[in-house]
Symmetry: D2
Subunit: 136 residues, 4 copies
Amino acid sequence: MEKLSETYFDDSVTPREHAIFELGIKLAAIFHLMMGTPVINDPEVVKSICEGIVSSISCQPFVARVDISLKPGQRGREFKYTKRHEFDYTSVNETNLVAEVEVKYSGWLAVGRVEWVSDLGYPLMYIKEIHQLSEN
Amino acid sequence: MEKLSETYFDDSVTPREHAIFELGIKLAAIFHLMMGTPVINDPEVVKSICEGIVSSISCQPFVARVDISLKPGQRGREFKYTKRHEFDYTSVNETNLVAEVEVKYSGWLAVGRVEWVSDLGYPLMYIKEIHQLSEN
Amino acid sequence: MEKLSETYFDDSVTPREHAIFELGIKLAAIFHLMMGTPVINDPEVVKSICEGIVSSISCQPFVARVDISLKPGQRGREFKYTKRHEFDYTSVNETNLVAEVEVKYSGWLAVGRVEWVSDLGYPLMYIKEIHQLSEN
Amino acid sequence: MEKLSETYFDDSVTPREHAIFELGIKLAAIFHLMMGTPVINDPEVVKSICEGIVSSISCQPFVARVDISLKPGQRGREFKYTKRHEFDYTSVNETNLVAEVEVKYSGWLAVGRVEWVSDLGYPLMYIKEIHQLSEN
């Protein structure tokens, strides 16, 4: 199946580049699956929400590792700390989501990350690391 | 806060009706949060994905109980049973999602459900039960 | 089909209540479909995004009217006004989305709305109006 | 801002690779934004939904072109052709979505596509073409 899928790709695409492509896909999938998900600042709730998406994304092709956490939001969208009344919660948004994904493809390991970068005012997705695996 | 929110509602809306309104909101929130979420037919993966959304929806106003499960999909979209190759997985869709929500509002308990109804060819959301609570 | 779907509902649910239930579903569907959608403060872009979701939600059962707009966001999440650089845009979030839906069900008209309510710090969904239609 | 964002990337990442990374991000963003969006087989409705997402994704960094269409679904999920009754519609799913994105980054043009590939039973995202731009 992996061979069949490769026939769709431009011939010039290398395994390293394919790994990078898959990394972009996974980061954006996490981001858009999670935006708007209700959440409170209870560690158990945060853990459960993050674990669900980790389990889900781990089903996707070439995923070797996924870590997801939620940091206190910025720009006035801090986590609310107790559910003091019925409306006292927030949702996953571009300022509080932090995710790191590791993709393995044909001997290459690519590590990517998405997190809010204050200087950009933007939830930047970037390639943190990429290198060839010694074996396999 | 609950009192303040009520001032936005049409005066004729009863607590029973308000409970029903909240029930519709919760069922649709679950449905649209989960559509397209990657999943395989591994009970641990399914459990983790469902628990994440249960935790999330439980943060929302007036939610007393949430149960979510995934049944084998229909119309050619059955769960794939092993991850035999990288593309061997499916995603949450309108045929495999089953969710039940219980809302409590001002002495009323409303129970709603969304599940695929083959005779309708549709993921029907419906009010399964509604009654007044004896106390509180 | 409508008759068949009614058999799933608790017998005590009235047409008026059914209209209210459907209203809750539609408001939450709009909300969760749109969260995280990239957008800039160009009226053409905003119009196009809103029209797409209006068209989509109008396919759903019992929908008589849908209006969606985006207002300048709050809490530091204002629309960015020009795409001065590649990262200069925002996304639909709970502070900028405004939607109004009209549902008709068995002689009842229900109008609902979702919009950010500063006093609640919350994107409140509420029943703005509900009344019986004179005819049909 | 673009320069600042580059400081987050692994030093070994080339402009060509960066273009590929952005391409993966955009394809997955389209896919996950659209999954579960209600739709009927009315060309006007389809056009409006697709145009909304084209407008939205065009706000994202480095996007030069976006085309989105919906083809008749497969595996029993064909478009329903008329809204004969209230439940007669479907939603965007992995079998009917077709999208093509063009990204320009530092002199490189990358074209990617997502569409259902029957032989894989999978909505494959792939790099259709990548080449250096003669100028700029």
